[in-house]
Symmetry: D2
């Protein structure tokens, strides 16, 4: 390993997101120093930062590894309990932590644009719609709820469509008398989430202790 | 009046649709021979065909005028009762009658395309969505239900959005594993309905007695 | 006229936009104090502000009326010459002036959102597309060029579609590896431009001398 | 191998499309009897049908294998020369042959719908647009040209957009005075092409000699 490269560790290294993360980080000339999976643990070196792409059941292990490495943590696990979130916030007093349920840059930009548009068009009608593959059971999607949360003080209808194997489309539309303004995001591959985690790595490596969202990564750096 | 021109009568002549009909028929060199409205009745000549753009409450008057003129009838009134529909069908034994709740050519084509697509993609997921102005109270729209009726033997979800003063958008989407096919219709002005009535007039003038839909006008001539 | 009402004058009062402006201002309880048109000039009272919805050939008249009333000026005339623009800027040293080629609030918001998105997604591919009625001869639309101007330092392709009587749709899309973000504006009626002029009136009435764009009206008040 | 299973051979077996074909045919309980690739040739049994997912340079080899196996042929190679096409047509006198440049079912349905819509809306304006990944060099796409060919006797504009890694979107829009009708196809994965080849296999196995398109597979069986 060259001296300049940043060493990273990954938990959930062989999952679909974990595999993409390793591809992307490799291209970006990060060094894989540690990986952990259900039937695999390889420690080559002490990592400078730790990434968790696994599941809530692994969370305790993740905290133990972080305690061992004393490194910043990026957590991409979805479905954390309130208690687990609190443990992350406690940890962020001593270490920089980035946590998000969606590491897509485009979705972060959509959330920001929706907020700005709402500030100017708050008396217009608003509709959110989302389309996902037929196998997605939850309605509406978590991301649609994130968009809904941006429209403060207003109850906004969400339409959910289930079609084939659509990766994920989200639209927020504002309708005035005489015009409609819409913002649409379409995901086309998982790679985009791995790239968001890379951006988070570049962000966190020089940050002070604290609890950061992916919105901070995109907009406050 | 020149001998070649076709003479038409119109009931509901001063309403929004009736006014558009008169503009369009005038451009098409039809002659206005008779008009009737709530505070107006002008008979210049016996019409060769009769058009009703009024309301269900006027229906009895319409039948009386038709009986007087012995002419083919085009009826664009929405919200007819079952009994009124039956009277129209009885009438169609002796005269040609065209009846529809939507005289948009594009919607007729959409219905036909949806039917053909469903024949080939019947194991794909199907979603219908419609967007209308905020003042539209019924959900889903009558046209969305017409689209739903085309998908025989399958229960299809309809998403209804209400935005500003959108005239009316309808989409039916078919989703397979690896592709999505969508058919979308957007209405931009009332003129299109008047043009559909003109097509119905050109259709009915040489037809035998019978009960015709606007689908017949577009596809079976 | 009640004391609280603001008195306005309008040049080009009987045109399509002028007529909408009078409707909207009437609903907003402004008082029509002065109107001027090709064959009509009615002065009821000295207006508190002057609106020009006419054509470049009338521009000299407009300046003469402004000089007479000593009032703020909102100018919605399109196709002004460079010299006429300079005269407006000179005038704005002594009076508040609002000038824009597009008084749609939604387009202003789209321009702002496009600028913000570009700041975050400047290495993504960008495409602009616009759809207008078949009678529109210029390609691309002036509004599409306004969107293009927001994307500084990058040459962005514009696709122009001409379909039926579409009032005007504009989309800017940003494409990354794995996601697409699009912002779309659809105009559905002229009323929206009249409402933008009303917002400009509410904005200008208390402003200091200066030259303001409609962007200032929407974002800097 | 069970007696009931159909045995297939594949040329270009390790390419991206060839690999998908093997997955799909395996799920459909076909038996892989023969595979050929640049550095690999495995003959387990004489195949009942032969599929070519390779390149024009391999075409002569393909004809030689077909001559050896005396089997029906499905050819998915793109960019065949006129001479190669003629050889396929000659071959189809003695064997059933399916040839297409696009084995997506949805695109076939779009082509059929576009043809039907054009029959009813031939005086409307027509626009075609296509969006593909930034790496696609040809403009417009071959599929867009296939759509254009359906609109006989009319020159239709094609708008080409290049964005991120979009797999392929195609839209044909018909615009009348007062309405717009659009048909859109979005590809989301290569799997759909492999499924089209499976449909072609099920089609060809019981067909008489002849030259068939994928349109025949979808619409004339």
């Amino acid at each position: 390993m060259s001296k300049e490269k940043i060493k990273y560790g990954i938990i959930g290294s062989s999952g679909r997101l974990g595999s993409e993360v390793k591809n992307i980080f490799n291209e970006a000339e990060y060094d894989l120093a540690f990986q952990f999976d259900i039937d695999n643990e390889i420690l080559l070196d002490k990592p400078d930062l730790l990434i968790d792409c696994s599941l809530p059941v692994v969370f305790e292990k993740t905290l133990a590894f972080q305690d061992k490495f004393k490194s910043p943590l990026i957590i991409a696990t979805t479905g954390l309990s309130d208690q687990q979130m609190q443990l992350l916030k406690d940890l962020s007093i001593k270490y920089p932590v980035v946590q998000s349920y969606n590491y897509s840059t485009g979705i972060q930009v959509l959330l920001k644009l929706a907020e700005i548009a709402y500030g100017k068009l708050n008396d217009w009608d608003i509709e959110i719609s989302e389309t996902h593959h037929r196998f997605k059971k939850d309605k509406p999607s978590g991301t649609a709820k994130m968009i809904q949360d941006v429209i403060k003080g207003k109850s906004v209808n969400i339409s959910s469509l289930r079609l084939g194997n659509v990766a994920g489309d989200h639209t927020i539309s504002f309708g005035g008398l005489g015009e409609v303004l819409s913002i649409t995001h379409s995901a086309t591959s998982r790679r985009t989430f791995a790239e968001g985690i890379l951006k988070s790595a570049n962000f966190i490596i020089n940050k002070k202790n604290g609890f950061y969202s992916f919105t901070d990564v995109i907009f406050n750096n």
